[in-house]
């Protein structure tokens, strides 16, 4: 069930909130846990059992790790930690990476040795596996004093606002709130505001601009001119940002409505002036995960320059792979490794000194990197990148005439998206927060979004009309 669906907004959420607030403080974790299971089961009736199993296993392991730690049995602690990591990552590998692995093994060995499993990816497994790992690792490293009760852990992990698409919340961020939280009316109101704005970001910006990117894909990459290729790349850049940012905002909003402080996942990433800065602003909780649980345990930057570069490489190859089981994601991750390393060692200072240059650098880099991310077929990716730099292998069928039409049709949308990708909406929100104007803005964007969703639901081919 998507947050941006009628069922969620008008059925699940109101019913859930009524139940949630009818039950006194202590029972709320149970309501939230049950509600989240229902939420998940609607989308994943079978794999909900996998999630439940994972919760039980991880909680058990965390308790074992904690007790070993307390009694000073480092061997036992290491055993439990390793085995639970193997289990968690094994499940993730099986569901997410096995076919990719099998395909490449077979290709390498040149025979059908490893069978493909064709398993469907359980919803949100990439996110909740990371949360489980962070929890057990934190217990083991001593970052969490008290592993909490089973219900607290289960609630933390399954909590529906962040279950499917993050942010990757750490247990220690919410442990106090899990134990005891109060929701005040202003908190609830802020949460609702943020939810409305997130919804608008997803429905009114991301979904709208996705039409253009779909159109470019429909035309076929070999027939587009260079400006159209850039326009398509920008459209996708906006689409992925407003989609993901919107989802994260909705998660934050929903969390706040229930008394949780869910961490921020984006701080205006497209205004970054280097790739390094970009990754401090884009999907913050993922970057944090890799830093705290991969980079630093590997030794971080304390073991010399070569070792550091090695660690950065591992982090970025894994970051790429986390986004999807395909070579283009690996390429994308390694691309960022190259950029980050080069920025760190060669031209980082230059970027800092030259504002205009660094902005241009990022505004070229961002769309290009998203194309590497989005186009999974490597030969198609090559075609697209060539179109972007103006090497056309086939006749250009979509040139200036269409470009002008697209600009007329989508120009305003691009302008709004560009404006919303700057600091502007954040500053405006800060200024208007809690004022009557905010109420009006939220009301308007909420109903506009609902109208758009309804249009899409009544006519599923709104975005794909023939």
């Amino acid at each position: 069930m998507l947050f941006s669906s009628i069922e969620f907004i008008f059925r699940f959420l109101p019913i859930f909130l009524i139940c949630y607030f009818l039950v006194p403080g202590r029972g709320r974790n149970a309501v939230l846990f049950l509600g989240s299971l229902i939420f998940y089961a609607i989308g994943e009736p079978v794999y909900v059992l996998l999630m439940l199993g994972s919760i039980i296993v991880n909680y058990g392991a965390a308790r074992a790790v904690a007790s070993c730690k307390r009694s000073g049995k480092t061997g036992g602690q290491r055993f439990w930690l390793t085995s639970v990591l193997v289990l968690d990552l094994g499940a993730l590998f099986l569901f997410k990476y096995f076919d990719f692995f099998a395909e490449n093994m077979n290709l390498l060995l040149n025979r059908e040795l490893v069978p493909m499993l064709h398993l469907t990816l359980p919803l949100g497994i990439s996110f909740y596996t990371f949360q489980m790992i962070s929890y057990v690792a934190d217990v083991s490293m001593g970052n969490i004093d008290d592993p909490g009760s089973f219900l607290e852990f289960a609630t933390y992990l399954s909590m529906f606002p962040q279950l499917i698409a993050g942010p990757i919340v750490q247990y220690r961020e919410v442990s106090a709130q899990l134990r005891n939280r109060t929701v005040t009316l202003p908190m609830f109101e802020r949460g609702l505001e943020i939810f409305c704005l997130g919804l608008a970001s997803k429905v009114l910006l991301a979904n709208k601009i996705s039409i253009f990117w779909n159109q470019v894909q429909g035309i076929g990459f070999s027939s587009i001119s260079t400006p159209v290729a850039w326009m398509g790349a920008f459209a996708f850049s906006f689409q992925i940002y407003f989609d993901f940012w919107g989802y994260s905002l909705m998660a934050m909003g929903l969390g706040a409505m229930m008394g949780f402080q869910i961490p921020r996942n984006f701080t205006v990433p497209y205004m970054s002036r280097s790739a390094t800065e970009f990754w401090r602003r884009w999907h913050i909780t993922l970057g944090r995960f890799f830093r705290e649980y991969v980079y630093i345990p590997l030794g971080g930057n304390r073991k010399g320059r070569v070792h550091t570069i090695c660690n950065i490489f591992i982090v970025w190859a894994l970051t790429g792979l986390w986004h999807g089981a395909n070579w283009n994601f690996v390429l994308w991750g390694i691309g960022f490794f190259v950029l980050l390393t080069a920025e760190k060692n060669i031209y980082g200072d230059f970027l800092q000194r030259h504002v205009v240059f660094s902005r241009l650098y990022m505004w070229i880099l961002i769309p290009v990197s998203w194309m590497v991310f989005e186009i999974t077929d490597l030969s198609q990716l090559m075609i697209y990148l060539k179109q972007m730099i103006g090497i056309h292998a086939a006749p250009v069928l979509v040139g200036t005439e269409q470009l002008l039409r697209y600009l007329r049709q989508y120009g305003w949308l691009f302008a709004v998206c560009a404006l919303c990708a700057t600091w502007f909406p954040v500053r405006l929100y800060r200024r208007w927060k809690g004022r009557p104007i905010m109420v009006i803005v939220c009301l308007v964007v909420f109903w506009l979004s609902v109208y758009e969703i309804r249009q899409g639901a009544a006519n599923p081919f709104l975005y794909f009309r023939f």
Partner: protein
């Protein structure tokens, strides 16, 4: 009361949302009641479609056994038949020339408008048949056959043939307009166009006045030599095949009346990719074939010709080849020129 005031003061957005939700829900409730009675009627309609479709099936089945194509023209349909031969058992290979009693209302066989003075014989399209599958849909039944391009002595023509041609249709025609490079023809095309709104929606700019007018206005005010139609995919889930056929017939009748000298090409509704075919219970190739059979039956080989555009792009199962499309419905831009080439090879040239 005091508490309520406190809530309103602290949570104006929540209160406003709740109130507006109430208003919207109330406003929606009323038309819904009316709609419910409407849909129950519509359901009756579709059941009626079922019945007529079934009887039609019986008729066509009879004719399959009865006749085998007589005067074949050496065109692509031969190839399509041969292709079918390779894949299906001999029992299913029958190629039928259908002789049903469908006739255009308001049109008689004796009417001579095609230039020559003599009475012409109607040519109905032939079919490739295949084994029917059981279907469970209010929108279609499996016709068990695919209509082929009308057999006719087509000429090869150059681009200027399309100087006085008009293309009318949905997004597939929009694609042709955008990407085929055919610039001398006229296009009345719009994404989402259906046979039900084709004549009456104002989306064409009148070249003289610059105002938005309907296709119906255009066809009454300007004369064209050729009319190419492709429409029908959007309405696959609106009304059954019989209703679609009635609407299509009505459009063709009007076109014949307004454009007595034009050659009308009914282009097959192009199929969807195997992926879509497998997963969609409305937008699938069986439904499309059912509709294509219906509209192919409206053609006469005198004024109205059926073109099986599908055959340019189809795979061995007569579905749109998967690698020609991104969204399973539309062609990549680079493949539209094949279509134009096909039309150039299948031109009706009259008045010799």
């Amino acid at each position: 009361m005091k508490r309520l005031k406190k809530i309103i003061k602290a949570c104006p957005l929540a209160v406003c949302l709740l109130c507006s939700w109430g208003v919207v829900a109330a406003a929606e409730h009323l038309p819904q009641v009316i709609q419910e009675t409407d849909t129950s009627q519509e359901q009756e309609d579709t059941t009626a479609d079922w019945i007529t479709d079934d009887t039609q099936e019986l008729v066509s089945n009879d004719s399959i056994d009865g006749t085998i194509g007589s005067n074949r023209a050496p065109d692509l349909s031969e190839q399509a038949i041969m292709e079918a031969d390779g894949h299906e058992s001999s029992q299913e290979d029958l190629v039928s020339s259908e002789e049903t009693n469908d006739r255009m209302p308001g049109e008689t066989d004796g009417q001579n408008t095609a230039g020559s003075g003599t009475k012409q014989k109607k040519i109905k399209p032939k079919y490739i048949t295949y084994e029917k599958k059981q279907t469970d849909s209010p929108w279609y039944t499996d016709p068990g056959k695919i209509p082929l391009t009308t057999e006719y002595d087509y000429q090869k023509v150059k681009n200027d043939y399309f100087d006085d041609a008009v293309f009318i249709g949905d997004s597939r025609i929009v694609g042709m307009h955008d990407y085929s490079g055919l610039t001398n023809a006229t296009f009345f095309s719009k994404t989402g166009l259906t046979i039900y709104n084709l004549l009456d929606e104002k989306f064409v700019e009148d070249p003289k006045t610059g105002k938005d007018v309907t296709v119906s206005d255009m066809l009454q005010n300007y004369q064209y030599g050729k009319i190419y139609l492709m429409v029908g995919i959007n309405e696959l889930g609106t009304g059954g095949t019989e209703r679609f056929k009635e609407a299509y017939k009505d459009v063709l009748d009007k076109m014949r009346k307004w454009q007595p000298d034009a050659v009308i090409y009914v282009q097959s509704i192009m199929g969807v990719s195997p992926k879509k075919d497998r997963t969609d219970d409305v937008f699938n190739n069986t439904n499309i074939r059912d509709k294509n059979c219906a509209i192919a039956n409206l053609t006469d080989g005198i004024h109205i010709f059926y073109l099986n555009i599908q055959e340019i792009y189809e795979d061995e199962n007569h579905a749109l080849k998967q690698d020609l499309t991104f969204d399973d419905v539309h062609l990549y831009a680079q493949y539209y020129d094949k279509w134009v080439k096909y039309l150039k090879n299948h031109a009706v040239v009259k008045g010799e």
